[in-house]
């Protein structure tokens, strides 16, 4: 994995020193809160409902065992023994105290981590496919490009005061696991007619109060043009983007107000100007970075033990069926460790779990760990012969839940349990959905399903692209939950459709159950997934199930 150069190290250390000084000056009164706030946000420090929150970047979701142990150490030393992995491949600590934050940042710098540009109107942590470098369907590992973008965007003088935050996601596979179409810039690797790799460039996607699927502005961008092109997009946005209205400031609005054709023309013009200025140093740098992402030395060993175990042990089989993904090396598998045991808080991992995962990655996973936007932890390279032992170790630690891709593998934002912007809670809704359907023993029968929950219209929980999306609102002083159906965050991205009036806190789990019972009734066969069934029959049968009941009449 990429390791800091002297320059990176010096940069991060000097930022820690600066912020340490800024915290001191806040605490002694030399800085007012108005002066301090933008400085703390530049360093990932928010003030939430009950405490401060520190958001730490896990660039492109890749993390080493040593770093994972340091996160555990931070959680134990300065927080409450856990951390929250987010949909943006960050980890959030929910209880740091202001005077301790400099020490935390320093501990992060010790393992080449930081909280820079995890907030504010700048280019945020670049996210990537969590199966990068391992997936069977991959054209190339997207992380070298993500690292190049990270280096280019960090402290970029032109892009520190953008009209609004700017999010870039990148995937190296045609099957989009990075939700690229819901980002300010989405990059999807494709090949041209000559077989060369390049990018489809998607601009103007975003969720929040005006959800939009991005538009393709270039079908094929040669690899070597990546930085000048992205820089051209940002320059155009930096000039046109609306600074007068925060709700119209994202590039998705700029794109719609200016028109795709005009923006594309401006971007291409700027690109033509910028391209010759890139003399090839970026490509040299990319080559160096790429070397840091060389695949591990894969073992060559028999896998019969795995096959035998798979046949013999139903618990292992259930886990293998849901939590394993095909690796590009036949003898290997990609393991998704669910940190969503039924009833647990989606995305939360205790320090003990972090340490165990670090140990297991060293023992069975070529010392590689990933954090997915779906809030799980991935061991991307596990030899199949090690899977039974790995599974046993996970089960022992309560991390063996076989639910990846199923109902209880829910994305939920922190909602009103932590977030100051929330209009309703989301975590307890996720917990109750998981335990309720676990008690009914229905989730395996229901099959692949993505439920995503946000606690306000900012949509941090990606509810718009959930097969079932749940949005928590405040309706006249009570929590109310709006449902959307048919959303999809893959390469076929779609924004879900609202079903109608929302449901009270106590009504939302029964409402979801009515939707799913209707689905079980109307699917043509068990292999027709919820999303496929929805695409076939549309909203009406689900609306009927939701609203044509006595309970619902009372509730509405």
């Amino acid at each position: 994995m990429y390791s800091y150069s002297d320059f990176d190290e010096a940069f991060v250390r000097s930022r820690v020193a600066q912020f340490t000084n800024q915290v001191e000056r806040r605490l002694d009164g030399s800085l007012t809160e108005d002066e301090f706030r933008p400085l703390r946000l530049m360093n990932g420090l928010y003030l939430q409902l009950h405490a401060y929150m520190l958001r730490v970047a896990i660039p492109y979701g890749t993390i080493s065992p040593r770093q994972m142990r340091q996160l555990a150490y931070i959680a134990d030393t300065w927080d409450k023994g856990y951390g929250h992995f987010t949909t943006r491949q960050n980890i959030q600590f929910n209880w740091p105290k202001l005077p301790d934050v400099p020490a935390i940042l320093s501990a992060l710098a010790d393992v080449e981590m930081h909280a820079i540009q995890t907030s504010g109107n700048c280019v945020r942590n670049v996210t990537a496919d969590h199966f990068a470098g391992a997936a069977a369907d991959e054209i190339a590992d997207p992380r070298p490009y993500a690292e190049l973008l990270r280096q280019w965007s960090t402290d970029h003088p032109e892009f520190q005061f953008l009209p609004r935050k700017f999010k870039i996601a990148i995937t190296g596979s045609p099957n989009d696991r990075a939700v690229t179409k819901a980002h300010d810039i989405g990059l999807r690797m494709v090949r041209n007619a000559a077989g060369e790799p390049g990018f489809e460039v998607i601009v103007g996607g975003g969720l929040g109060r005006t959800p939009m699927i991005g538009m393709t502005v270039r079908d094929f961008l040669p690899e070597a043009d990546l930085l000048p092109y992205v820089e051209a997009v940002l320059s155009v946005y930096n000039v046109l983007g609306r600074r007068d209205n925060k709700y119209k400031a994202r590039i998705k609005i700029t794109l719609h107000e200016t028109g795709k054709e005009e923006i594309t023309r401006m971007v291409e013009e700027e690109f033509a100007r910028l391209r010759p200025l890139f003399g090839g140093n970026d490509q040299k740098l990319l080559a160096d970075i790429r070397a840091a992402f060389a695949p591990p030395a894969f073992r060559n060993a028999p896998v019969d033990a795995y096959d035998a175990f798979y046949k013999a042990d139903p618990v292992f089989r259930a886990w293998a069926d849901t939590n394993l993904t095909q690796h590009r090396n036949d003898q290997y598998a990609i393991v998704t460790v669910s940190i969503k045991a039924h009833g647990a808080t989606p995305g939360d991992a205790t320090s003990e779990q972090m340490r165990l995962l670090a140990d297991l990655a060293e023992k069975y996973g070529h010392s590689d760990l990933r954090i997915s936007h779906e809030q799980n932890v991935i061991l991307p390279h596990v030899h199949k012969s090690d899977l039974p032992a790995l599974h046993a170790a996970l089960v022992k630690a309560g991390l063996g839940t076989a639910n990846v891709g199923l109902l209880s593998d829910i994305i939920a934002c922190p909602g009103m349990d932590y977030c100051a912007l929330a209009t309703a809670r989301s975590i307890p809704v996720a917990q109750e959905l998981a335990t309720h359907f676990e008690a009914l023993k229905l989730e395996h029968e229901i099959g692949p399903l993505k439920i995503k929950i946000s606690g306000c219209i900012n949509a941090c929980g990606h509810h718009h692209v959930g097969h079932i999306g749940i949005l928590g609102l405040d309706r006249a002083g009570v929590e109310n939950y709006q449902i959307t159906l048919g959303g999809d965050g893959t390469e076929d991205a779609v924004i879900g459709e609202k079903t109608g009036p929302g449901f009270a806190y106590t009504e939302i789990v029964p409402a979801i159950e009515r939707i799913l019972r209707a689905y079980l009734e109307l699917r043509t066969e068990p292999s027709e997934t919820f999303l496929q069934a929805y695409k076939r029959v549309g909203m009406e049968p689900f609306k009927a199930a939701l609203y044509n009941t006595e309970d619902a009449q009372d509730a509405a």
């Binding site: 806040r26 809160e33 009950h50 409450k80 202001l98 005077p99 349990d417 809670r425």
Partner: protein, 101 residues
């Protein structure tokens, strides 16, 4: 058109710890909602908020939150403020734990 003033409390987060606190009538910052001063008058509310905002070394983000009289003292009226008196619902963290001990 004069609308009845909804009673308020002044609330904020402590600068160093981030904890939720309430301004009392005798100018302390208390972690307990029911110890807050219940303010029934708009002009007085603004004065108290100014007073709170001046305490830059103690608290951040002071604002007026709706409240109502209760048996032990002021009580929150909105669920958000109710959560702020306790802490998160997924763990026994925050005030519900700190104040219990």
């Amino acid at each position: 058109m004069s609308r009845r003033f909804t009673p308020k409390v002044v609330t904020a987060n402590r600068l160093r710890e981030g904890d939720v606190v309430y301004l009392t009538a005798d100018d302390r910052w208390s972690p307990l909602h029911h110890e807050a001063e219940l303010i029934e008058d708009e002009a007085h509310a603004q004065m108290r908020l100014l007073h709170a905002n001046a305490q830059k070394l103690l608290v951040v983000g002071a604002y007026l939150a709706d409240a109502k009289p209760g048996a032990k003292g002021p009580e929150p009226t909105h669920f958000r403020e109710e959560f702020r008196t306790r802490g998160p619902s997924n763990y026994n963290h925050g005030k519900q734990a700190d104040l219990a001990s």
